[in-house]
Symmetry: C2
Subunit: 199 residues, 2 copies
């Protein structure tokens, strides 16, 4: 499937075959592509919680307005981010020449340190980028997906034992669709969302 | 190019052929794919400012630490979001059955109204998702890209006449690479960024 087809065919799917599981290899393939997503300064602040355990899935579903895709999909990926990923940044450039590494590391820490809004923005931005990688890669693998924010993030944090300084940004269900999406709800025309040169 | 190849081959490119322009049709194709990106509740809060004008590009470059890709790339897309996109939400579901539309519209307004952090999170999240659509679609079209946050957003807002209640989330340069990217700087191992079931 080419990239254009994947972009067109990716739709938010709510009904999945509850009997279908993904293999460990498939999950690894999906996530190996997710981590090729770009992050600012290569900060790789995302963390991906792959939930398969039925009891945890049941708890997540209850904290997500009982939406059935949370238990019926093959996997749920809760996208989280480390808000303090700018600490210890040298490892994000360990394979770069020493002078590059030594220039970038203090720049990364200085850019984010003390700016909590920026740290949170980066969490949402990085996870958004990775989310689309996951959804398009899933499509390439013959799977469907649904990005979701309709859940109680505090309950999710308790269920998943989220560490301090981490934030949950969204979740994605991935599985085998048993019912296709309805038509798109109401696309805004390109002229409304695209501006040339300035507003 | 299949989606996996696009994900692998997308790298952040800094050196572009300054003599290469994209046609209006190519830009439209790229953005027609961008707007197929999902947004929460189909809120379509992103706005894409496509900057080609050389004088504006020069000003943006000065406000972006003089990074050369801002003037050398074929186009610059400044991704912005309407923080008040939850106002007047009925149009996002104009093609859905009336009962669906009437259920969703007040839900959308209620979900975001008065919660400025959530409005900003949604700006970053939606633009992140659309950003990866743009970068992968560009790759499919034979172009390279670079996602950027290294700029002064206040100066950008003045240069672009950004309306009130809008926020700039990032920018992407798109063009013909004349120098390939270096090797990846230092990928974290999958085991560090993937968690199974809970932390």
């Amino acid at each position: 499937m080419n990239t254009f087809e994947a972009i067109h065919q990716r739709r938010s799917i709510k009904q999945y075959d509850p009997g279908h599981g993904m293999t460990k290899e498939e999950i690894t393939t999906l996530l190996e592509h997710a981590i090729l997503s770009p992050t600012s300064f290569n900060i790789q602040n995302w963390r991906f919680v792959v939930v398969q355990d039925p009891e945890i899935r049941k708890q997540l579903k209850e904290a997500a307005w009982n939406q059935i895709q949370v238990t019926d999909a093959s996997i749920v990926i809760v996208l989280c981010a480390n808000l303090k990923a700018h600490h210890n940044p040298i490892r994000y450039w360990k394979d770069a020449p020493e002078e590059v590494r030594n220039m970038l590391a203090p720049m990364i820490t200085g850019f984010y340190e003390g700016n909590e809004q920026l740290q949170r923005d980066e969490a949402m931005r990085s996870c958004g980028i990775a989310a689309q990688t996951i959804m398009l890669a899933a499509k390439e693998m013959g799977y469907d997906s649904c990005p979701m924010i309709g859940f109680d993030p505090e309950k999710f944090a308790r269920i998943l034992d989220l560490p301090d300084d981490f934030v949950i940004t969204m979740m994605i269900t991935v599985g085998k669709a048993i019912q296709q999406a309805h038509g798109r709800g109401g696309q805004l025309p390109l002229e409304e969302v695209v501006v040339y040169d300035k507003f």
